[in-house]
Amino acid sequence: MQISLKIIVLLFGISFLLVFVSLVRRKNIKPFYSTLWLLVSLLMISLVVFEKFYKWVATLLGITDASFLVIVSLISFLLIYVLHLSIRISQMSDRMQELISHIGILDHQIRKLKEDESD
């Protein structure tokens, strides 16, 4: 890896790390998700620090270009993650629909009871 690229990747990884640590501290993200992103930023930093290790893994798998390995693993991580988010969103919208209906019914019922009281 070129030295300029190394610096860029390193800076990117560190800023990623800082952003997600602060997000978790301010309780903007659930710990589960932040841990996931923490791992991603650590992986980024390790690309620079353990460059030789990744090259070794790549040759072991018969891949001559180490960057290809990085790209493939990143894309597969993102795909799995997006799939996970789709599942979560589907669950949440189903639950939301149930809640909206039931809050509506309860709100209506309370209004009725109050009207009966005041009559």
């Binding site: 919208s93 629909q97 019914i105």
Partner: protein, 234 residues
């Protein structure tokens, strides 16, 4: 037999009074009226209070009229209604035609009845672009459902207790489109039928059709249709 007529309302403040008066005066059946408000941002709620009509308000918007239908099922089940009739708040559906959609259910012929404008082709027939969309989805649904569907997006429907219980107790998922609702009912083994009715043209308010929606609606319907085909709910 207890019948509930639900009028769905989303920002129909200008026309909702006419719709309610129509049901109060011209309804051809004995029915309770409930307006379900999908969290309108206009003066609808003040209108409903002034008209002293029974209303239920969603705490947030569900992003589609199918959400109102799900609430209506839950409400009808909660209060033990035998039949639930649905009308749109824009006064396009006629209260004098309510008996036509209730009759096949009262006689235990089918579980769900849809009022269709396109059987006898009388009254308001909708715009050309919209008709193409409705017809193609109706053909598609007729092919999957093995019975003639003619006005698949019609909101003028009646459901019996079997349908109410199914959606209130068993089917706990969000429904995105009316076309999807039709498919879910087919898979649930609910028998359906279309009956000819007349509808009025829209008087006020803006139609949902604009440049973006003209592409969005068919696309969105197709996606949810294919997804439901794959899912095949039990």
């Amino acid at each position: 037999m207890r019948i509930l007529t639900v009028i769905s309302n989303y920002n129909e403040g200008e026309i909702i009074e006419k719709t309610i008066e129509d049901v109060r005066k011209n309804a051809s059946i004995v029915t309770d009226i409930l307006v379900i408000d999908n969290c309108s941002t206009d003066s609808s709620i003040e209108q409903l209070k002034r008209l002293k009509v029974d209303y239920l308000k969603h705490p947030v918007n569900t992003g589609g009229s199918a959400g109102v239908i799900k609430t209506a099922f839950a409400y009808a089940h909660y209060h033990g209604y035998d039949i639930y009739c649905h009308m749109d708040g824009d006064n396009q559906h006629m209260a004098s035609e309510l008996d036509k959609i209730v009759e096949p259910i009262a006689s235990n012929e089918v579980d769900v009845v849809t009022g269709s404008r396109f059987i006898t082709k009388e009254g308001f027939q909708s715009s050309f672009a919209r008709r193409i969309g409705i017809h193609s989805f109706s053909r598609l649904m007729s092919w999957v459902g093995r019975r003639p569907y003619s006005d698949i997006t019609s909101g003028f429907r009646a459901y019996n207790k079997k349908a109410i219980d199914y959606f209130a107790l068993k089917f706990k998922q969000e429904i995105d489109t009316i076309v999807q609702l039709e498919l879910v009912m087919h898979y649930a083994g609910l028998k359906g039928k279309d009956v000819p009715v007349q509808m009025r043209p829209r008087e006020t308010g803006k139609s949902e059709i604009n440049f973006v929606n003209a592409f969005k609606f068919p696309f969105y319907n197709m996606i949810s249709f294919i997804g439901t085909l794959i899912q095949k709910p039990k």
